[in-house]
């Protein structure tokens, strides 16, 4: 009967358990404390950095404000150049179209007058020899690349055939109708 009662062993177990609980809670507390302190330090460090950056920003802003005239000049020149660039890239250059059309004419054909607009280019051309017009129609026009050379031209009309007996020249009116795509 006496052997079955073992009070000493139970007390030792309880003490061990208490020590374990104490140790675990102490570790948890230490970890929490460590993280709290670390985070607080980090936040303090960040706040310090924010203050430094704010003063730096204020200095730069006041520096820019003090250079008011220089800032306005810089902004003005940038605004002007940006607008100028827009105009340069979008303005219609009829000389390019005219040069393209004139390059198609055989050298023997002379240009008497031109009427160029964004919609069409009308040329009055003359030549003492009728065969020059044949060269224009049969060789020059046919040899043109529809994608490269004729991409801006929608239709070509030839009319107003005329013979000038004084100068012994044949003249004709050529109308090159331009594509809508190139008209701004």
């Amino acid at each position: 009967m006496k052997n079955q009662i073992n009070l000493v062993t139970q007390r030792v177990d309880t003490k061990k358990n208490v020590r374990k609980v104490f140790l675990a809670s102490f570790i948890v507390f230490c970890i929490s404390f460590f993280f709290s302190a670390l985070l607080l330090l980090m936040v303090l460090f960040q706040n310090n950095e924010i203050t430094t950056l704010s003063s730096q920003k204020s200095q730069l802003e006041s520096s820019i404000t003090s250079q008011r005239e220089a800032r306005e000049n810089a902004a003005l020149i940038k605004e002007r150049l940006s607008e100028i660039n827009k105009v340069l890239t979008t303005r219609f250059d009829l000389n390019i179209k005219l040069a393209q059309v004139l390059s198609v004419l055989p050298p023997a054909i002379t240009v008497r007058s031109v009427d160029v607009s964004k919609e069409r280019i009308t040329l009055v051309v003359a030549s003492p020899d009728l065969s020059d017009f044949d060269i224009f129609l049969d060789d020059k026009i046919v040899s043109l690349d529809p994608i490269k050379d004729l991409k801006d031209i929608k239709r070509i009309d030839m009319n107003g055939f005329h013979v000038d007996r004084k100068t012994a020249e044949y003249s004709v009116t050529l109308t090159f109708n331009l594509n809508k795509a190139i008209q701004r």
Binding site: F29, L39, L60, Q67, R71, A74, K78, E79, L81, R184
Partner: protein, 225 residues
Amino acid sequence: MKKKLDTKELVQKYRIYLVPSALLGLSIFMLFFVILPQFTALSDNSRTIDDQKRVIEDLSKSINAINEVNGPQIAENLTVANLALPTTKDVILIYTSLTALAERSEVQIKNFSVRVGNFYTKQVKGAPPPPAATVGSSASLKIQLVISAPNFNSVTNFSKNIYENLPLAEVNTLQANEKSGTLEINFFFKPVDIAALSRQTFISGLTPVEKSTLEKITQWNNLSN
């Protein structure tokens, strides 16, 4: 009396758990009232720091850009830019420029007309707005010019030279024969919004495109002088 004894016994029995419980309680308190709020503060502060750094970087770039643009050439560059794209309808400037160009192209100006534009009354409800001659956000002034020239090439050269002359212009129509020509030219201008320019805090330096545009118009200006 018995109850009192029970409480005492209870305290006596669990006294050893008091310190661990207090430590755990403190840990939980720190978790909810220190650690978690600091995480939010950290993330907010990081965002603020990033924003501040970005603003500082932009401001520094602006100062560099201002110093770069405001070099010794600033007055000249501004003059050229304003000459290329005047702020108003400057008819005298256009006329002077065209006469100088005509001289260079060996043609003579016979007639110079300005099409100021239509008059518009208060817009009628539902009616379409009046048409505006604009390219991008620039407006233009229409000029009609009659020139006399020694030959057809002089007329076309004059028309070509208009594109390399200041103020910037585009030829709308060209009618030419061997001795004369009639041109309808749009001269561009754009008023300056001083208030908007003054409000601008961030200014970037000149881009390569803007630099090349400046070089181009300076070259054209030198040609005409």
